[in-house]
């Protein structure tokens, strides 16, 4: 019996073959047309390209893995990736990479792209990876993790890497799909999707999801263990509600996509000096966009044009006790918000010259329509901040993939970004990709990337909070050298070794000035060096696995100390074990992170977290059923907290469960 599996591409296997039996090499010719239609032939560096030829170390997670490992959010997916880490402060999730996970920073040194659309918003330049992320992970077709400096092609925020999400389209559905899940901590999620494609070239997908979790009923924080603060117990303050909407419509060369997410999260940690155990402390995040894309090939000239409108709105309602020490409490609700709208367009041309030069060139413009930060006490009303700084930026880029010899490629590119806040940023990258023999490839890469100072750092100016803005900030800059070695072992096992060393200058850090005011300045520097190695494999009986190890040292340039929240070792492994051919799979996952330093100078122990998902499909037509246990061994571990927290570190969830049912018809 022939079976097909997907893994970053495709695998074929004789499912009936057991361990000891001889297996045939994968042969596409033995696939049916339906199976061939599911094979992806994909691209990594803005145009179609094989992973081994991309000017970076790239790994891919597919929708198949998302199901089989029971991933609930993008954060779950990221945690399993070589060199990546995610920490959580019970409000937002923070992505660290290459040992750089400085607390108090938002996710602005990673660029997130969804179907070619830039997701980082325009106030904090951050991305969301928890339930406040735009796309329900069920709708992900594939996520590409492109490591290293990527500003030469992608501009701002492509500092340590790019996470590129490609969503599932109407043609992948051909009907209706309903999904429902229930899990520990009273967590429920439902989704309805409908997608279809028509021979005329018309395709559509619409989907909506809703999530509700009560969270932990009681969270104990010893830092607040006082009768006046409920003995350190935050009661019913961990709940979270979110919803996602997605619509993708395409007709011939045009694609119109709209996405929206809204999330409400109660904050149990009394961050930012708020009153502890006050049920009114919540944050709200809304993010959405409309994106119209046109792609057409005029002969050998590929044209891609894009016009988009984006929205991001955040606000928090925070209780503050304004009473002087010793006086009875005088709690006032404060509202902090960022309200943002922007539009932009992009034009990109691709052409091959003399059969040796594949050239990609383009330009981008982004104009901000609303860029407002606002802070006030609700009752009695008092305004602390209401600032609107409309900024805009544009960029031009050019990249040439020059095939010097059939097995030697030089990929060189440069991008010029212009921000009206600080001026210009130039980001070059050069990669030499050498394949001495068919299954081996070496990549030597030098790249520079930047992160522009964001509106929060520039313009958040509230003397009453002892915080002032700094419109003179310059961008942060990274210079990075990488060596990537990729080897297909045996027939189709892939080994990757990726070493890197980067120097970061002009890091924006919050300082206390002589006048006791907090201010952001380009004062810090860091160096991060490391090596990651990863082995990916797929076996004849449907067995699939991935094991990676990362060693990294991220140090402060001035003190030479290892950075806060920077584990030196990480090990990640995941397996898909077919229990009943093509029908029932076990997906164990294991993640180890070594000790990390906290802001308070403490050391958090290293830990191992194991997850296990049992996934079944085709038991009944159209039905998929899965059961997952997260943190299977109930490991107690903590993530470092930011300066906004009284707690130096935040304990993470113990063992939780989820069951999920998906039905397609």
């Amino acid at each position: 019996m022939q079976t097909m599996l997907l893994a970053g591409g495709i695998v074929i296997t004789t499912a009936a073959a057991g361990w000891g039996e001889e297996t045939v090499p994968p042969n596409l010719a033995e696939l049916t047309i339906e199976e061939l239609m599911n094979v992806t032939v994909y691209g990594a560096s803005k145009f179609e390209q094989k992973l081994s030829e991309a000017p970076a170390s790239v790994t891919v997670v597919t929708s198949d893995e998302i199901k089989k490992y029971g991933y609930r959010t993008l954060a779950d997916i990221i945690r399993g990736q070589r060199g990546f880490q995610v920490s959580y402060d019970r409000n937002y999730s923070y992505v660290g990479v290459r040992g750089f996970g400085r607390t108090g920073d938002y996710n602005s040194r990673i660029l997130l792209i969804l179907d070619g659309h830039r997701i980082n918003e325009n106030i904090y330049d951050s991305i969301s990876v928890g339930n406040e992320e735009l796309l329900d992970v069920d709708l992900i077709d594939r996520v590409e993790f492109i490591r290293g400096a990527g500003s030469s092609l992608y501009g701002n925020n492509a500092f340590f890497g790019v996470i590129n999400i490609i969503s599932r389209k109407g043609v992948d559905f051909k009907g209706t799909e309903l999904a429902g899940s229930a899990g520990s901590l009273d967590s429920y999620k439902g989704r309805a999707s409908y997608g279809d494609s028509h021979p005329s070239g018309l395709a559509a997908l619409i989907s909506g999801s809703i999530y509700d979790s009560a969270g932990n009923k009681r969270l104990f924080y010893p830092e607040f263990n006082d009768p006046a603060t409920n003995n350190g117990v935050a009661q019913d303050l961990d709940y979270e509600r979110s919803y996602n909407l997605l619509g993708t419509f395409s007709y011939r060369d045009f694609t119109l996509q709209g996405a929206y997410v809204g999330r409400e999260k109660a904050v149990p940690t009394a961050s930012f000096g708020t009153v502890f155990n006050d049920p009114r402390y919540k944050t709200f995040d809304y993010r959405g966009y409309l994106d119209l894309k046109y792609g057409h090939a005029f002969g050998s000239l590929g044209v891609l044009a894009r016009l988009f409108f984006d929205h991001y709105d955040y606000y928090s309602k925070s209780p503050y006790d304004l009473a002087a020490a010793g006086d009875p409490p005088n709690v006032v609700m404060n509202r902090d918000s960022a309200d943002n709208n922007w539009w932009g367009s992009e034009l990109q041309l691709t052409r091959t010259f003399l059969q040796k030069h594949r050239v990609i060139g383009g330009g981008e413009y982004q104009g901000n329509l609303t860029q407002r930060q606002d802070n006030y006490d609700i009752d009695p009303y008092f305004k602390y901040l209401d600032t609107s700084h409309l900024t805009k930026k544009w960029a031009l880029y050019l990249q040439d993939e020059y095939t010097i010899l059939p097995n030697l490629v030089l990929n060189a590119g440069v991008r010029y970004d212009h921000f009206d806040t600080f001026g210009a940023a130039v980001s070059p990258r050069a990669a030499l990709i050498y394949s001495p023999v068919d299954k081996t490839s070496f990549k030597l890469i030098y790249g520079e990337a930047f992160r522009a100072p964001n509106s929060y750092e520039l313009f958040y100016d509230v003397p009453a909070f002892d915080q002032k803005g700094n419109p003179a900030l310059k961008p942060e800059k990274i210079r990075s050298y990488e060596l990537v070695f990729e080897q297909l072992l045996g027939d189709h096992l892939r080994l990757i070794v990726n070493s890197f060393t980067s120097r970061i200058d002009n890091l924006i850090s919050q300082q206390t000035d002589a006048d006791d005011m907090l201010v952001f300045r380009n004062v810090a520097g860091a160096e991060t060096t490391g090596v990651g190695t990863e082995i990916e494999g797929l076996w004849a009986n449907g067995f699939k696995g991935n094991l990676s190890y990362t060693y990294q040292e991220a140090r402060d340039s001035d003190t030479d100390d290892i950075l806060v929240n920077s584990p030196q070792h990480m090990v990640k492994g995941r397996l898909t074990i077919p229990l009943v051919a093509d029908k029932l799979f076990a997906g164990p996952e294991l993640q180890y992170m070594s000790s990390r330093k906290t802001l308070g100078g403490n050391k958090l122990n290293g830990f191992v977290v194991a997850n296990l998902t049992v996934f079944s499909q085709k038991l009944l037509p159209g039905l998929e059923l899965s059961g997952s246990a997260y943190n299977l061994f109930d490991t107690r571990y903590r993530d470092p907290g930011g300066a906004d927290l009284t707690q130096d570190s935040i304990e993470q969830d113990g063992r939780t469960f989820r069951v999920k049912l998906t039905y397609r018809f």
Binding site: I10, M37, K50, G573, T635
Partner: protein, 195 residues
């Protein structure tokens, strides 16, 4: 086993169960590697997949009497123009189809089309497409190409790539002109059928 050692060393902080689990994971991962049973990974080259499509098309098309005259042992798949397949055809070359052997050959002009049941027109021939299709005329040949709008301009099967997946359009009228019977199963899978 160095990996196992590494893991257990790194898991110094972990308890026994976790180390056991880690060991199990590593063993499961390493064992099949050592026994050399690895299978495919990585993204697939577009033309490897297209070659498999071509082979499959042959199974779903019936040639008229004239089309199957000539060599009864071979079914000719001809590539007209610059060969984009590289080694991609190796997997299908010589495979049995309709009791014949699939023979792949590269041709440089339509005059060499004699023994071709399937004609793949490379995108290098884009500029000459209308001449080529005119020259093919009513010959009993299954024309396939990934030149844009191939099926719409009179070819029989045109590849299109949508969301990195390969789809195809079929021109029913062109198939009839060439006296080809395309199975309803294939027609059903087509993105669009041009009448």
């Amino acid at each position: 086993m160095t990996l196992l050692y590494l893991i257990s060393k790194l898991c110094g902080v972990a308890n026994r169960r976790q180390v056991t689990f880690a060991g199990l994971v590593v063993l499961l991962l390493v064992f099949p590697v050592l026994s050399g049973k690895a299978l495919a990974m990585d993204g697939l080259a577009e033309y490897e997949v297209k070659s498999a499509f071509l082979y499959n098309f042959a199974k779903f098309v019936e040639w008229g009497a004239q089309g199957t005259a000539g060599d009864q042992q071979e079914l000719g798949l001809c590539i007209l123009g610059k060969d984009p397949f590289g080694g991609g055809m190796d997997a299908v070359k010589g495979r049995p189809v309709k009791n014949r052997r699939l023979v792949v050959k590269q041709i440089n002009g339509i005059d060499e089309m004699g023994q071709c049941q399937i004609l793949f027109i490379s995108s290098s021939e884009k500029g000459r497409l209308s001449e080529i299709l005119a020259a093919v005329g009513r010959s009993p040949v299954l024309t396939v190409s990934d030149i844009k709008n191939f099926a719409q301009t009179g070819g029989v099967i045109g590849f299109v790539t949508i969301d990195e997946r390969i789809r195809f359009d079929i021109n029913q009228a062109a198939a009839e002109r060439a006296d080809l019977q395309i199975s309803s199963q294939l027609l059903k899978l087509a993105r669009s059928v041009v009448q």
